[in-house]
């Protein structure tokens, strides 16, 4: 029972991080039909910039968060401008896939050179003593992760539902041409969705950094698993992403315990392959009708 509670609690924390990153994939995919293969690197940069703010500049963790979010927005806008916009213009899917991959590689290399190749510890804003609940050890930071992730997603949902600009984003996702007819500048919406997507990734980065080591390589695996979550849940369903994230987080943690930490990443990836083989639109998504 204690083991189960431990697996669940650790799994949920990890799963929520995946969900937040996957959320970013959904944002850009719904408005533009593209996504950032370098999303993991956006998270990594957020974490490293956050580390610099907190360590070198001596900023308070909570004050650092908006700074990192701003950085994330700028980084996302940059990716869209350089990597995605030209590809959309020439209608090349190959183009944005390869250029977001390329930008991801460049960001990682820059991070390696600026911050070094070692993994660095990130000072935790909360005490590091675990609390016990139902026999499981839960770090206060893990709770912050879950809360932070949910708050971020709720904020975006609020934005989408209650503000006119949010509605404009949803409208663009629904029907880009019709949104243009309403006077909505859809190119700007796409840029904004990339900015927001990197913002959520950067935010996820500073949430998870105190729990693991921060370094230039932290983004790669996270990005792939977040993509798995986005696919498993369905790229068009917000709830699906949370469910997908939880499933993946828990399965992964369980594998780590029962089999070995080396194999931890495998079940999630196999689940991804199975979903793509049988229901590519995801567990919660709607299948598209072919139009000829």
């Amino acid at each position: 029972m204690e083991l189960l509670a431990q697996i669940l609690s650790s799994g949920i924390a990890v799963g929520m991080i995946y969900a937040v990153i996957a959320f970013g994939f959904q944002l850009t995919f719904s408005t533009s039909g593209t996504l950032n293969f370098g999303q993991g690197e956006a998270l990594m940069l957020g974490a490293l910039v956050g580390l610099t703010c907190v360590d070198t500049l001596g900023m308070n963790y909570w004050l650092m968060i908006p700074v990192v979010c701003l950085f994330g927005m700028i980084q996302g806008g940059f990716v869209e401008l350089i990597g995605v916009r030209p590809a959309i213009k020439i209608k090349s899917e190959f183009g944005w896939i390869m250029s977001t991959i390329a930008l991801g590689i460049i960001f990682k290399n820059v991070a390696e050179n600026v911050w070094g190749r070692d993994a660095l510890p990130f000072p935790s804003p909360l005490p590091m003593e675990p609390m016990t609940f139902l026999g499981a050890n839960i770090l206060p930071m893990e709770i912050l992760v879950v809360v932070g992730a949910l708050v971020m997603m709720l904020l975006v949902e609020f934005f989408n539902r209650k503000t006119i600009y949010g509605k404009a984003v949803v409208a663009t996702a629904n029907d880009r041409d019709a949104a243009g007819l309403m006077g909505i500048n859809t190119s700007m919406v796409i840029t904004f969705s990339y900015a927001l997507s990197s913002l959520t990734a950067a935010f996820a980065g500073v949430l998870i950094a105190p729990l693991t080591l921060t370094g230039a390589t932290m983004g790669g695996a996270l990005g792939l698993k977040a993509f798995a979550v986005a696919i498993i849940g369905g790229l068009s369903s917000g709830l699906g992403i949370i469910v997908g994230g939880l499933i993946l987080g828990i399965v992964e943690t369980a594998t780590g315990f029962y089999i070995s930490t080396g194999y931890k990443d495998v079940p999630g990836l196999i689940l991804l392959l199975l979903v793509l083989a049988y229901k590519p639109s995801g567990l919660f998504g709607k299948s598209a009708i072919k139009k000829v």
């Binding site: 006119i164 509605k167 404009a168 949803v170 409208a171 629904n174 029907d175 041409d177 019709a178 949104a179 243009g180 007819l181 309403m182 006077g183 909505i184 500048n185 859809t186």
Partner: protein
Amino acid sequence: MLSIKNLEAGYGKVKVLHGISIDVPKGQVITLIGSNGAGKTTTMRAITGMIKPTGGEVTLSGEKIDGYESHKIACLGLAHSPEGRRVFTTMSVNDNLLLGAFPRFTGSRPKGDIKNDLERALEMFPRLKERRNQLAGTLSGGEQQMLAMARAVMLNPEIILLDEPSMGLAPILVEEVFRIISNLKSQGVTMLLVEQFAAAALKVADYGYVLENGKIATHGPASKLQDDPAVRAAYLGGAGGH
């Protein structure tokens, strides 16, 4: 108000419009009729920036808008109820209407009283009022058409372009749609109406243009066109039938 001169447009290699000229004076309802494939929807798309014209010019209240992007044209006061309705299916009726007024929120168009206009629009379209919080995707075809038109009205536009409002609608709903168009006309709204249903369109319009194979085959006051055999020929070919 809206003036189209020698407009040429197409899709990639296919040239659909070979130089058409249409005039929409303020306060009038002009209709563009013709059979499928004649180029009616292409004309609408070229005017509202969904595709770029390859030749000719489009002028709105004196400003040349050919080549502009859709959102810019909308902000100049041209509302478009597109072919196939294209309502935002995952959003409520209310939200769809609010989005119709988007440029008024952002200041690109005079703000006016958006809330008041929303209520007035719902009065004009009672079916929508009943369903104001329903998701637009769950509405029937006729209700979606009402929504698309109401959405266009929400812009407080200089001119409304209606693209095939009757498409896919049962006859009784078509009557309702045209009743609303008449209503808007009596309020002095300028409209360019593209229709496959020639009879209903010619009844409500002041002036008509008949489009055939990308060119204007004939044009004239709507009442005269109603009896013109050329109209019948443009749709059904030859001089067959009654």
